[in-house]
């Protein structure tokens, strides 16, 4: 009897809840697989999908968003071995699961911690509450490919933002596999969009895109590229999260900063009278 011939997986992009190939038809060989090489057009398509998802995702209840992030943790836990098979250390998968759980709990607490009533000197009800900024472009850390990726996606989407992520070019398989996790977590299509390929190709398009509200440069290691992206981002005054230091430890408690950097504060006034 001959051995069974394995069915190999095609690693594709994740845009609008679907798994398309790059519209350019290109792929590149990495981690012994052919992975889609996203084009600027793919980046633009991803922004369109992310924008379309904003209304529903930002409008969902915080409770609902928390449930979905927790569901992502559950699904990731269930696929632990799949990630290990891709070369992701088991400890890192565990940490990534825990990170989803940690951020899931923030969904319905952030507004209480980061917003509140302001005691203005007059007969007014005055309250500040955080809101998502909208579409966030993210350059994910090169590595750790899974924990780094989860650590930049979760804080962006927990508050209601949608993201277009440029995944680690050298270790993209974890990203595409995470997309499969998200696709089965009740996360609405378009909330997370993942592009694989060259940062130098997708990131400038995202940084210059006028319908993107913020950019997270965490994974950019080339300082001149980082500067170029920040200059492009200035065109529509995107909120910018600058690159993480090269020695950044992704396993430590991330604090609030990644969430708050992608929030707007809205303050509402109303008179108090009879």
């Amino acid at each position: 009897m001959s051995e069974r011939v394995a069915v190999r997986k095609t690693y594709k992009l994740f845009i609008g809840g679907k798994f398309p190939r790059s519209e350019s038809g290109r792929s590149y060989l990495v981690q012994s697989s052919n992975v889609s090489l996203a084009s600027r057009k793919d980046a633009r398509d991803a922004v369109v999908a992310a924008r379309a998802a904003v209304k529903g995702w930002a409008g969902a209840t915080a409770y609902n968003r928390g449930q979905i992030l927790y569901r992502a943790a559950e699904m990731l836990e269930g696929r632990r071995e799949q990630f290990v098979a891709l070369g992701v250390p088991g400890d890192e998968v565990d940490a990534a699961v825990d990170r989803w759980v940690w951020y899931a709990g923030w969904a319905d607490k952030l507004a209480q911690v980061y917003g509140g009533a302001n005691p203005v000197a007059g007969p007014y009800f005055n309250i500040s509450a955080p809101e998502p900024t909208g579409v966030v472009a993210v350059v994910a850390p090169e590595r750790p490919a899974l924990l780094g990726l989860v650590s930049v996606i979760a804080p962006a989407i927990v508050s209601g933002n949608t993201v277009v992520v440029a995944a680690s070019p050298s270790e993209p398989l974890a990203a595409v596999t995470l997309a499969e996790v998200l696709a089965t977590s009740d996360l609405p299509g378009g909330v997370v969009n993942i592009l694989t390929g060259a940062i130098t190709e997708t990131a400038p398009a995202l940084a210059a895109h006028m319908d993107v509200n913020a950019i997270d440069l965490s994974g950019v290691t080339d300082t001149s590229l980082a500067t170029d992206l920040e200059v492009r981002a200035a065109e529509n005054l995107k909120r910018v999260l600058r690159p993480a230091p090269a020695d950044h430890d992704w396993s430590v408690d991330p604090g609030l900063a990644r969430m708050t950097a992608l929030l707007e504060t809205k303050t509402v006034w109303h008179p108090k009278g009879v």
């Binding site: 911690v113 980061y114 509140g116 302001n118 005691p119 203005v120 000197a121 007059g122 007014y124 005055n126 500040s128 900024t133 509200n213 300082t223 001149s224 980082a226 500067t227 170029d228 920040e230 200059v231 981002a233 200035a234 065109e235 529509n236 005054l237 909120r239 600058r242 604090g255 900063a257 708050t260 707007e264 504060t265 809205k266 303050t267 509402v268 006034w269 109303h270 008179p271």
Partner: protein, 476 residues
């Protein structure tokens, strides 16, 4: 007829010097590589004083003084003691508020009623508010021991000269930073009087430095490598340039930029208060307000009635001498700004909108623009899209709440918005959907030191005021 006799506030409460130097390291000094310029009274075009213009070397001196003060004095000082200096400054501002108010009206052109009743009380309140934070930073929600950033470069506009100074300096100092501030070239005088107040308060030398000058001075300041934080309030164009210039650096940046706010009036609004709110929204401070309600969106079924009331109310506005206590609308701040308002208003007429102003006699000298509304405006008109920064209101209509939201949000700006309706659930529905940093419901243009202020989208980022206002000055 009941004619109000002139009721001029006394100019003599202000002791103007013929010329002013730069305030660096606790003393007034002459510029080393700069020149000088004149600050004029926009209501009369008379020269008020000769002002030093800081060159690159002067900026260098100021940044160095701020660094030294940060390293040696202000950084190591306890929060409790920083608070005491800020409280002192707040008190001195209250004590000298009449003098400051008159000077503000002289230099800026705004009515004394506003500088006296709005600007100055808010300036003092801002210093009081942030003084109280200085020794409580570990309870502000930014971790157990948040650190200051260092030297802050602050560039402020001419529309609320002293209030913008307070919004910048008070939180910066409370958090433990030192500052170099550049006031606008047309309105430097109250900042220079504030420098005297810092001296009177015995504030350690170098904690506050004030460099006067125009765009070149501002650029030299924000691009200086010795600066750790940049805070700017002004036009979106300049904000964009600053955002580019800090790219690739570690400078923390907050920007408070332009706006084109929608003031939305529903058919069930408290009409008389809504009309007051519309007037206050666009004619307060001659419309030189980044959060001005410059687009009136009125529900079509009450548009005629609201406009009739609005015109009747506008006819009561008293335009003229800023120092007259009964003046409602003062002088346009500069010839250049007047030119821009005229250019955009002419574009409004040329594009077919209908222009109306109440009959009003404008003084011969100085820079003046009558309160103006344009009706029949659509989203495609320039006057509905571009910030005019003057007493010019564009009126558009809508039919449904969803259409109002769509039109209100249809702009690259997102600083503020107004909603007028008696229906509570509609207010909350609208407030959720408006993409603006401040939403005033059944009121407009209200400010408070405890209330965060700042924009969405191209109106900038970061918040000033409240607990949120500390974040831009802490290393978090």
């Amino acid at each position: 007829m009941f004619e109000y006799a002139p009721a001029p506030e006394s100019r003599s409460v202000v002791d103007l010097k013929p010329s002013y130097g730069l305030f660096i390291d606790g003393t007034f000094v002459d510029p080393t590589d700069g020149g000088s310029f004149k600050s004029i009274n926009p209501a009369s075009e008379e020269v008020l004083a000769e002002i030093a213009e800081a060159g690159a070397q002067d900026v260098e001196r100021a940044v160095r003084a701020a660094r030294k003060a940060y390293d040696k004095v202000w950084g190591p000082m306890s929060g409790r003691d920083r608070a005491k200096y800020l409280y002192r400054i707040a008190r001195l501002i209250q004590e000298r508020s009449r003098e400051l108010a008159v000077l503000e009206s002289l230099d800026n052109g705004k009515p004394i009623r506003e500088s006296r009743d709005v600007d100055l009380p808010l300036v003092a309140a801002h210093f009081f508010y942030y003084a109280g934070w200085a020794d409580k930073l570990s309870h502000a929600g930014f971790g157990p021991n948040p650190r200051p950033i260092g030297v802050a470069a602050q560039v402020i506009p001419w529309n609320f000269p002293l209030l913008m100074l307070a919004w910048k300096i008070a939180p910066a100092l409370a958090a433990g930073n030192t500052v170099v501030l550049k006031p606008a070239e047309t309105t430097p005088l109250t900042a220079l009087l504030f420098a005297e107040i810092c001296q009177q308060a015995d504030l350690p030398a170098g904690v506050v430095n004030i460099v006067t000058g125009a765009g070149d001075t501002g650029r030299a300041l924000v691009e200086h490598t010795g600066v750790d934080k940049v805070a700017f309030t002004g036009s979106t164009e300049v904000g964009r340039a600053i955002a580019r210039s800090v790219a690739g650096t570690s400078k923390k940046l907050t920007l408070e930029l332009g706006g084109k706010a929608a003031n939305i009036v529903f058919d069930d609004a408290p009409i008389d208060q809504a009309v007051e709110g519309i007037v206050n929204g666009i004619f307060f401070n001659q419309g030189h307000v980044c959060c001005a309600g410059s687009r009136l969106l009125v529900q079509e079924n009450v548009a005629d009635r609201v406009l009739e009331s609005l015109k009747r109310r506008m006819a009561q506005l008293r335009v003229g001498d800023p120092l007259d206590k009964n003046t409602d609308v003062g002088a346009i701040n500069s010839a250049a700004q007047l030119e821009r308002i005229r250019e955009l208003s002419d574009a409004g007429s040329a594009e077919g909108a209908e222009r109306w102003s109440p009959p009003c006699e404008l003084p011969e000298r100085g820079f003046w623009f009558a309160p103006t509304i344009f009706t029949g405006v659509t989203q495609a008109h320039r006057i509905a899209r571009e910030e005019i920064f003057g007493p010019v209101l564009s009126v558009l209509t809508f039919r449904t709440p969803a259409e109002a939201v769509e039109k209100a949000n249809n702009t690259p700006y997102g600083l503020s918005a107004g909603i007028w309706t008696d229906k509570g659930s509609r207010i909350l529905w609208m407030a959720d959907r408006l993409r603006a940093g401040v939403v005033w419901a059944n009121t407009f243009n209200k400010f408070d030191p405890t209330s965060p202020f700042g924009g969405y989208k191209e109106s900038g980022y970061g918040r000033e005021g409240g607990r949120h206002g500390l974040e831009g000055y802490l290393n978090v």
